[in-house]
């Protein structure tokens, strides 16, 4: 897969988490994901159309997203509930928006759908196309999360 489609999502993820949740994020090594099982406990998924069609997902470990949303709200969140799911949807939306802006500067214009959110251990992440799923793991001081970027071949 063309890395010029991947890097904007990595940059956007770091920027969104640092700006909205004051969380320092470090990206790990991208890998090709073979199955549909989510690495995390709550996942935001968003479809993209434009110069290529695809989806992105952002899946958080419970510990990680509780810390992220606690920082966003300025109050301690203790369980995965509808407020956490809503926040994951908005974080996915912001990552998409920021990445699409960078992609537009490179001449690649995309439109985004409204994100959906899935919660629960070992849930599936269904990408809309059968292209390769590139997973990028991220670490925070309080748990990990992973983004997946999947565009049609």
């Amino acid at each position: 897969m063309n890395v010029t489609l991947i890097n904007p999502f990595i940059n956007a993820t770091i920027n969104v988490l640092e700006t909205m949740a004051f969380v320092t994020v470090s990206a790990g090594k991208p890998y090709l994901k073979k199955d549909n099982v989510a690495v995390g406990d709550v996942t935001g998924i968003l479809g993209l159309t434009g110069v290529a069609n695809g989806t992105i997902s952002v899946t958080f470990e419970e510990k990680c997203i509780l810390n992220v949303v606690s920082n966003m709200f300025g109050e301690t969140m203790t369980e995965l509930n509808h407020e956490i799911a809503d926040a994951v949807g908005e974080l996915t939306n912001m990552i998409s928006g920021q990445a699409r802006r960078e992609l537009e500067e490179a001449g690649k214009v995309f439109k985004a759908a409204i994100p959906s959110v899935v919660t629960g251990r070992n849930h599936s992440i269904t990408h809309h196309t059968d292209g390769p799923k590139i997973a990028i793991p991220f670490s925070t001081g309080n748990g990990d999360f992973t983004i997946e970027v999947c565009f049609e071949r």
Binding site: V16, A87, S96, G97, I114
Partner: protein, 124 residues
């Protein structure tokens, strides 16, 4: 900046409404009303007087841009400050919002300072 005015916050994500409310309260605003899409916002605007509208763009039922156009077409709200706070930051979006009469534009993600600075500009 007059913080006694009534502010309508429009976003389909409760998370974003909560973050914006927290920021506005820190600035000193107390009179805050919420809507989760443009249609609900328009109903509120018909039922009470709002002094400042802060709206997302990408929402179901009625988008922020559609709401902005309705607001600017109404006698009551054609000059009401309208701040768009959105992840839709592509050039065409900004052009469309400006042409529709947006007062200012904040791109998500944002800092509390960015919101405060934009409000200072459009409310002075």
């Amino acid at each position: 900046m007059d913080t006694s005015i009534k502010v309508l916050i429009v976003d389909d994500f409760a998370t974003m409404r909560r973050i914006l409310k927290n920021i506005l309260k820190q600035i000193g605003f107390k009179n805050l009303v919420e809507a989760d899409d443009g249609t609900s916002a328009w109903e509120i605007l018909q039922g009470q007087t709002i002094d400042l509208i802060i709206s997302d763009w990408n929402m179901p039922k009625m988008t922020g841009l559609e709401l902005l156009k309705k607001v600017r077409a109404s006698d009551q709200y054609k000059r009401t400050p309208f701040l768009m706070v959105t992840a839709e930051a592509q050039k065409q979006n900004v052009i469309e919002a400006v042409q529709a009469g947006v007062s200012n534009y904040v791109v998500k993600p944002f800092t509390a300072e960015a919101i405060s600075d934009k409000l200072e500009k459009i409310l002075k």
